[in-house]
Assembly symmetry: C2
Homo-oligomer: 498 residues x 2
């Protein structure tokens, strides 16, 4: 009595023996042209391969173009040195390892850190401009054309104890939140300059495997262009750079059910997991699929950092100077009831007109007693928390959560409380962090650890450097995508030339 199921299916490959003719022949086929695909294509081309890019949308850019693109790099980049930030490979390794926790892929971290300054230089060679300056504010992104900023709470507890802090988010030299578009415009210009063909409006449908070969190597891909199925032979390999699966509701529900508590998927409409599903269809292992980036982007204004997050016991539960993604991940663990951000009105601003995070103002009050009562908190709890917090703030020492003294000041009435309970309206953007298991080269692995010959996955189609919400840093995904794109482009090309 089989029951109906409603699962997202891996996409089965096509057998080469059933392909009558090839519409395209190339060395490397790149599926998707966001940051990962663009870098894969450029690198494969530069390594001597013929490259074809197939992009689902009517323009290149992918989710990278929607991002702020604060490329996460370190270990002593040109900008880090120019701004006097001493960073080391060791410090960066320690941070990335702590951030990924038990899910850390050590080989990937080693490769990423070792190649980090080189990757910076390579981006510059492609025409990406970084100013030798820093943006010394607590912000989710730089709104000036300044470059370097802390994007992962490296300077906040607990990471500041685990590794010497250094800012590693590298914002492009552009005013406003325009790093992503500029990065992709720059990479797109390079693709044009190198005359790498890009087929837009092309939907990859299935991988093609060599069924005359026991290994079932990937040797091509079927794409749909102009309503017709076309067959692409890729002698050196297919690079899947088609994003994550945040836009596929059923797939999120099936693989990352906790993320369904968030509100706004971050990505482009093509982030439907198709690359992951094609990889799974040829035996690729999808790993860490339950994890995602989750955020409550509650700053700027940075002054909101002076506030305290409280749970329904009236307790604080995180240092509020943490990265917004870490705060989001910790809030999701507070399953006991409502969660509020409590602020002094002087730090909030005009609550009558000023709205943050799409969250409701749950209460305003002239005293903590009144606020506590209006929020229906257990009597005395918020009073105790606040009195304690203010005492520590005065002393400049948050003995509980180790918030940095620069964000400590006693909170004085009048007060305002924002309701940031997940599911009650507050803005919780999210995207997925699970994907195909790969080597640092981008080669896709079976669950056995065996490589699938001819198949590469990069960016969010793979499970890369960013592994969990509580340890995410802005720029990690664009950094990982552009870096892994390059590695896969080079790795595939070693098959072209041999």
């Amino acid at each position: 009595m089989p029951m109906p199921t409603n699962k997202v299916s891996p996409i089965s490959p096509i057998k080469a023996s059933s392909v009558n003719h090839w519409d395209y022949e190339t060395d490397v086929a790149v599926i998707g042209c966001g940051g990962a695909g663009a870098c894969a294509a450029i690198s494969a081309h530069d390594a001597g391969s013929r490259v074809l890019i197939f992009e689902l949308a009517s323009g290149i850019g992918g989710s990278t173009t929607l991002s702020s693109a604060e490329v996460y790099l370190g270990g002593g980049t040109r900008v880090q040195k120019a701004t006097g930030h001493r960073d080391t490979k060791r410090a960066m390794t320690d941070f990335l390892t702590a951030a990924a926790g038990p899910q850390a892929d050590k080989a990937k971290i080693v490769a990423y850190v070792a190649g980090s300054t080189d990757h910076f230089d390579w981006l510059v060679e492609q025409g990406v401009v970084f100013k030798d300056s820093e943006y010394p504010h607590r912000a989710i992104m730089a709104l000036t054309d300044d470059c370097l900023l802390y994007t992962g709470g490296e300077n906040a507890h607990p990471y500041n104890k685990l590794a010497p802090p250094a800012p590693r988010g590298h914002n492009l030299k552009v005013v406003g939140d325009n790093g992503g578009p500029l990065l992709m415009k720059t990479l797109g210009a390079k693709i044009d300059e190198k005359s790498i063909p890009v087929e837009l409006n092309s939907r990859a449908l299935a991988l093609i495997v060599d069924d005359s070969d026991d290994q079932q190597s990937v040797i091509g891909v079927q794409v749909r262009i102009d309503m017709q199925e076309r067959y692409v032979k890729a002698r050196s390999g297919v690079i899947l750079a088609s994003g994550g699966f945040v836009m596929n509701d059923q797939m999120v529900k099936q693989y990352a059910p906790e993320l369904t508590r968030c509100t706004v998927p971050i990505g482009n409409p093509g982030d439907t997991g198709s690359g992951i599903l094609m990889g799974m269809g040829v035996g690729g292992a999808a790993i860490n699929m339950h994890e995602g980036f989750v955020s409550l982007p509650f700053y700027p204004p940075a002054s909101l950092t002076y506030g305290i997050f409280i749970n329904s016991q009236g307790q604080r539960f995180v240092n509020e100077d943490s990265y917004h993604g870490r705060v989001g991940a910790f809030i999701l663990r507070e399953t006991g009831g409502p969660v509020y951000l409590v602020l002094a009105v002087e730090d909030y601003g005009k609550y009558e007109t000023e709205s943050y995070l799409n969250a409701d103002v749950a209460a305003t009050a002239e005293s903590i007693v009144e606020l506590e009562s209006d929020l229906n908190l257990p009597p005395g709890e918020l009073q105790a928390t606040m009195s304690d917090y203010n005492k520590h703030a005065k002393a400049g020492n948050d003995e509980l959560f180790h918030k940095d003294p620069v964000w400590l000041k006693p909170l004085e009435p009048p007060f305002v409380a924002l309701d940031v309970t997940p599911g009650r309206g507050a803005f919780y953007p999210y995207f997925t962090l699970g994907g195909l298991d790969t080597l640092p080269t981008g080669e896709v692995l079976k669950a056995s650890g065996d490589v699938i010959t001819g198949l590469y996955a990069v960016g969010r189609t793979a499970c890369g450097i960013p592994r969990r919400g509580e340890g995410y840093a802005s720029g990690m995904s664009v950094g990982d995508a552009t870096f892994t794109g390059r590695q896969a482009g080079m790795a595939a090309s070693t098959r072209t030339t041999t």
Copy 2:
């Protein structure tokens, strides 16, 4: 430049075309003879199939025989009725759904609840004896021969608000922690009585698939007996009942890295994930692999429930009358530093000689001020927590975490604090909850939701009713294992008779 990997591999199947002869021919082959395998075998036999059981160990029992076997059943069993506990299918469904959270498999819950009283009756028919009585203590297991006890915190916050509480743990009529051995002895006697052959010391090596068939149906299994490979033809199907993967360190590290923070794997040495890996090898989807049961079994003595768990901020974080598994799961989330169980010495007993949980006594003190200082907690925090707790305890209302009033009493000096920080010695048993995705019939599913013809997985080889540590209840796994074993035995047998 492929790098060495150290992954646990799915086990590839053998092609039937390469099998020269069959050493055994049967309808149904059952791999593993714990609770799940025994029930599968009995049911398949009773449905008219020829059955062969292959068991790795030199005796039957599996992990069920190591368990307390408080079979989790409800919706109005004979014992529930006799003891005056009104339980309903609706209440049981609501509890199981809340316990599994976003990971809940609704079809499985529906089937389990619908079949629950029948499953009780079936176990009785097999010779399992349950006394019409209850064990009305807060305990992890009944130490008398009484039957019914609360084993999942149904009567504690938050579940008592989400569903009318009823005890559903059914302890067998036997004194001491001997339910598991008795259950397996009883089922084993039934297997003998029915003359179902059991091959002991038999290691299943690989599934055998029909390679003449596009579907690659499972039609047998290769086993090693007496150092020789034997080929078993199973016309109706192979039922994998070989446990979870808690004894496979590398597999736990790879799939459930958070569990590596626990100390003692619970299971028999055969719980190496071989059934899951064989299922994966024929395309079965392994799901929910990151989840596990985690426990801090801090009661009995029940008097320890009068204490409070505090984190390194001196805060409480859970109602201490929760099920020990829920407490364990919540402690694992407290990643900010040490975790203590703080008690009045009168509830603890003789701390000079009495040791619990293998945990160190971190401090004893005549006052909270002294205790707080000895534990290096932020000054004032434990004092505030304790004063607040005692106030609420006096009032009989734990406004913060809703601990039941029966477990509330003001804590008075002298005090003792047990260090229960994970990794510092305290006993954290654990086992895995991820496994093959199956239909309620036990049919193994591919990631696509398609059934793998001829393959069934039951008990902890499948991902069943218990889905996450914070919502586990004792008896869920034995309940699920014996129930799903029966369903698979019956389902496979429909193929025998058609």
